[in-house]
Each structure stands twice: as C-alpha cells, then as structure tokens.
Amino acid sequence: MAVSILHRVSGNGLAVVGTATLLCWLGALASGPDAYAKFVALAVTIPGRVVLVGLSWAFFTHLASGIRHFVLDIGAGFELEANAFWSVVTPISAILLTAAFWAALLLR
C-alpha cells in the first residue's frame, strides 16, 4: 500500500512541479542567456535545491514503482513473498538512484 501511495504522490508531484520546472527551464533557455542566468540563480538557492532534489527523488520513485507496475500487469510477482520483497526494493532503489544521480552530477 505504501508503494501505491508513493506512486500517486510522486506521479502527481512530477505532473505539477516537474512540468512547471521543466517549462521554466526551457522557457528561460529559449529566451536567451540573461533569462537562463536568472533560472540558474534561482535553482542554486536552498529552496531551489530542495525542489530539484525532490523532483529527482520523485522521478526515480515513480520510475521504479512504474516498472513494478509493468511486471504486475503481465501477471507476475503476485506471490506473497515476491510481492513483499519487491515492494521494499522499489522505494529503496529509488533513494539509491537519487543519491547516485547527485553523486555523479556533483563529482563529474
């Protein structure tokens, strides 16, 4: 049940905040260097970083539970033990992927 709630929360969070952030970024990019500099200045503030880290977490969470949905859709993984195991692996792998993403980004 927790994975289901996480899927809905991360999905709707991405739909609203993710879309808004992507469009702000693209709009700034299309407007030119000055607008893009304003976007970057906003993105590196503490609230900006919280939003970006939150979005990356929501993305990997929705991706992981979405792939779990694909597996369940073909009728696999409904055995009690397998189902419980992957419901734990899904959110943990999302947190690890989020950490790996930021590590790769900051250490490049």
Binding site: N12, L23, L29, P33, L63, I67
Partner: protein, 126 residues
C-alpha cells in the same frame, strides 16, 4: 432494466466502455516516458556543465530537440491521464469534477504548446 433505484437504472448496461482505453493509454505513454526521460536524465549527466552555451548547443541538434519534444508530449499525456484518476478519486461532485477536468485539459494543452514552442524556437535558432 428498471427505472426506480439508481442501481436498477444501470444494471445490465455493463461498464462505461472507456476504462480499458484509459488504462492502456496510461501504459503506452508510460513506455514512451521510460525511453525519453531516461534519455533526458542520462543526457543531463553526460553534459560537461549546465552553462547556457553548453545546454543550448546540445538542444539545437536535431535528435535532442526531437526527443525533448517527444518527452514533452508523452509525459504531459501521461500526467493528464494520471491527474484525471486522482481527480476522479477525490472530487465527487459532478459539476466540480467537470470544471476541474476541463481546467486540467486546458493546462495540459497550454503546457504542451509552450514546451514545444520553446524546443522549436531553440532548434530553429531563433
């Protein structure tokens, strides 16, 4: 089919016949999302930095511009379907539901139009 109770009026009609289409479109767009968003995240990691010049010179190429445009279409379509499910679960008043779904449709098309305009503007070098 009776005309007394509410269950009597709908008994024997079957489902609304729209659910399976909605469900399938959610999956088809999800497949598109996996392909385009994983490409997008991998591309962000492969960019040497996020300066205007670097990001701009990357997006103006035909393949990144095309994939970014496709990502906007498939993710917004998927988001539109997903948010509809949430609205249907929490907004029970028929009139309110109509207004919120209508607003959702408008916002989705405005967001998609704006995103695609940005990508086209960048790709065609305005």
């Amino acid at each position: 089919m009776g005309n007394g109770t509410s269950i009597g009026r709908v008994r024997g009609l079957g489902s609304a016949k729209h659910g399976s289409h909605h469900w399938l479109m959610q999956r088809f767009t999800a497949i598109g999302n996996v392909v385009t968003t994983v490409w997008f995240v991998a591309s962000l990691l492969l960019l040497p930095n996020f300066s205007y010049i670097t990001v701009h010179d990357w997006i103006v190429h035909p393949l990144p511009a095309l994939l970014l445009g496709l990502m906007i279409i498939t993710t917004l379509w998927h988001a539109r379907l997903g948010m509809q499910v949430m609205i249907e679960d929490y907004v029970h008043d028929a009139g309110g539901k109509f207004v919120v779904i209508a607003a959702l449709n408008l916002v989705t098309f405005v967001a998609g139009g704006f995103g695609l305009l940005c990508v086209i503007r960048l790709a065609l070098g305005a």
